[in-house]
């Protein structure tokens, strides 16, 4: 993992001191709310329905056991004993008191964490593939790139006041687990087809929210060394030409859409040619220094498969099922990456108690080289576990309700906090996720249905990624009650697609029946081995629409 150098350390400490002073001035009345709000947002502090909320950055979803323990401590000491992992791989505390937040930020700084740029019209926390460094299909670890971008974008003087927020994601693998096509900038590490040199495919103008767009490729191959200069060119074109008159049209996706990908690329290339690349690009020595932090650890030489592991699977069907869904092959023989589901049936997706965080930290120390990852699907990952240890880890997880075998299945639902917490929400999300998880709780049935991503947002801002859910659910208000719009056919991977609306909005109590009918169409019409999303692509929306319309009580 990356460790702060003296500059990082000083920067974060100074920021805490500044914010402590700002909070003091707010409390003594020298700052009005209008003056204070942009300052608190720059430090991740929101005002929600019931309390303040603190959003803590987890850069590219990577946490050490020490950091996780500190989050557990903060949750216990200053919050209500739990936190919520988000689709931006951040952690939110829902109940901090404003007067305590400077102390919380000091505790975060003690473990090289902060809440800077988790809000506001700036470059937000950079996300990456949660299997970075261990995935079998990886060309190169995306974390050094993400860390370089983190350092470059932190308090970047030119890009601290953009037309709107700006999100960047990086993957180094063939299979996109980081939703890069739904980001303002998505970077895919790839090899040049002729020279075999490693570089980036640069995708710009993706995003969800009220105007969902799939990102467009603006550069098919960018040499690695040119990354920061090229990003600077993109940001400069956006900063100068992105709209500031209408916040709903201010994201870069609107600019790309309005002027066209070709023209956008032309302007970026023109800027890229004009700027002084060598003065912007990172010093190769600095790039190497960062990359060294992410060098593969000292693995034990192990056989490709573990006899103990195979025996445990053979002797315990529950364990075998969990392995099938929650364990991912590792690039190192004898190791595995395991996903800890934060979706126990009936629990709020992404929530973890302080006790659970501590257990995960302990398990990371004992079994995963102290490494933890947060996924955009609101789960956790222990990326470095020996196959032979999986059974012991599974048993320990089970004692804390953390061994649910559902990763990627219909009950592994993404849901934003929704109206239960969020001041922007138009409807609740979590109760819908809970009702669906309960409806489809049966393990055999989940297995039969296979991979199916349900994603729920409680408002048009789409924090729950509903547009790219195989089934998406959007909570709205209709005539004074909560109403849920269902979309079908979205995809968050390299085959990214925006789902299409199936019909009129439904009352909350009708949503499980509607999903049941959609699933029934798939089960009746699928070919052998055909996944839900492949089935939707093959047979089209019409059969699903017909089934959907049979659901009674549609709130037309």
């Amino acid at each position: 993992m990356y460790r702060y150098d003296e500059f990082d350390e000083r920067f974060v400490r100074e920021r805490v001191a500044q914010f402590r002073d700002q909070v003091g001035r707010r409390l003594d009345g020298s700052l009005t709310e209008d003056e204070f709000k942009p300052l608190r947002l720059k430090n991740g502090v929101y005002l929600q329905l019931h309390a303040y909320m603190l959003r803590i950055a987890v850069p590219y979803g990577t946490l050490s056991s020490r950091q996780m323990r500190q989050l557990a401590l903060i949750g216990e000491r200053y919050d209500r004993g739990y936190g919520h992992f988000t689709t931006r791989t951040n952690l939110q505390f829902n109940w901090p008191k404003l007067r305590d937040i400077p102390d919380i930020l000091d505790l975060l700084a003690d473990v090289e964490m902060h809440a800077i740029q988790t809000s506001g019209n700036c470059i937000r926390n950079v996300t990456a593939d949660h299997f970075a460094g261990v995935a079998q299909d990886e060309i190169e670890d995306p974390r050094p790139t993400a860390e370089l971008i983190r350092q470059w974008s932190s308090l970047h003087p030119e890009f601290d006041y953009l037309p709107r927020k700006f999100k960047i994601a990086v993957t180094g693998a063939a299979h996109d687990r980081a939703v890069i096509k739904a980001h303002d900038i998505g970077l895919r590490i790839l090899r040049h087809p002729d020279t075999r040199e490693i570089g980036y495919e640069v995708i710009v103008g993706g995003g969800l929210g009220r105007t969902p767009m799939i990102g467009k490729v603006v550069r098919e191959f960018l040499p690695k060394a040119d990354l920061l200069a090229y990003l600077e060119a993109i940001m400069r074109v956006y900063n100068l030409e992105g709209r500031r008159d209408n916040k709903y049209k201010a994201r870069v996706k609107i600019l790309v859409h309005e002027i066209g990908t070709e023209e956008f690329s032309r302007r970026v290339e023109e800027e890229f040619a004009r700027l002084d690349g060598p003065s912007v690009n990172a010093d190769p020595a600095e790039v190497a220094r960062i990359a060294a932090y992410f060098a593969p650890p000292a693995y034990d030489a192990l056989p490709a498969t573990s006899g103990a592991f195979e025996a445990a699977k053979a002797g315990n069907p529950d364990f075998a099922r969990w392995v099938e869904t929650n364990v991912t092959p590792h690039r190192q023989p004898g190791y595995a990456a395991l996903t800890i589901s934060l979706k126990p049936i009936g629990a709020p997706p992404g929530d973890a108690t302080s006790e659970q965080m501590r257990l995960v930290a302990d398990l990371a120390d004992e079994f995963s080289l102290s490494e933890i990852r947060v996924t955009h699907a609101q789960n956790l990952v222990l990326p470095q576990v020996k196959q032979a240890d999986l059974f012991a880890v599974w048993r320990r997880l089970g004692e804390a309700d953390l061994a649910t075998a559902n990763v990627g299945l219909i009950t592994d639902i993404i849901a934003c906090p929704g109206l239960d917490y969020c001041a922007l929400a138009t409807a609740r999300s979590i109760p819908i996720a809970q009702a669906l998880a309960q409806r489809f709780a049966d393990a055999g049935r989940q297995k039969e249905i296979g991979v199916l991503n349900i994603k729920i947002s409680g408002c048009i801002n789409a924090c729950g990624h509903h547009h790219v859910g195989h089934i998406g659910i959007l909570g709205l208000e209709k005539r004074g009650i909560e109403s849920y719009q269902i979309t079908l056919g979205g995809d968050a991977t390299e085959n990214a697609a925006i789902g299409e609306i199936l019909g009129p909005g439904l009352a909350a109590e009708d949503v499980p029946d509607a999903i049941e009918r959609i699933v029934s169409v798939y089960l009746a019409q699928r070919q052998t081995g055909e996944s839900f999303i492949d089935n939707v692509r093959r047979i089209g929306l019409a059969p699903f629409k017909a089934a959907f319309q049979e659901v009674s009580h549609a709130v037309a």
């Binding site: 409390l27 019931h50 309390a51 239960d420």
Partner: protein
């Protein structure tokens, strides 16, 4: 605040406490208002004159940095208590519907009318 359209009567005034963010309600009588954490204690503005007093109190308290995000909410009177008509504001008076152990619902004996989804 003055520019926003006033909701239909009767109304109550709610806000978030500056220090801890908790939802507070204007209580007392129209000439001597204070903040209460109990939605059941909220002063009900049945007429324009009381609603005016509530708005003036909100403006003063925002200015004094005691509260943030103060606004009037239209209510129905159920079992003698003012229950916001809109589900969003009802959520704000209770706490998360998925965690009945948190928020006001955990700390105060709230009327059942508040807890209606």
């Amino acid at each position: 605040m003055a520019a926003a359209k006033r909701p239909a009567l009767p109304v109550i005034l709610l806000a978030n406490d500056l220090l801890d963010g908790d939802v507070v309600f204007a209580a007392g009588d129209a000439n001597d208002l204070n903040w209460s954490r109990d939605p059941g204690a909220a002063l009900i503005g049945h007429d324009d004159a009381t609603a005016d007093r509530l708005e003036a109190f909100a403006a003063g308290e925002l200015g004094k940095q005691h509260v943030v995000d103060a606004y009037l909410v239209d209510v129905a009177i159920e079992d003698g208590v003012p229950v916001p008509r809109h589900y969003r504001e009802r959520m704000k008076t209770t706490g998360p519907s998925i965690r009945r152990d948190l928020g006001k619902q955990a700390e105060l004996p709230l009327a059942q009318a508040f807890l209606r989804a």
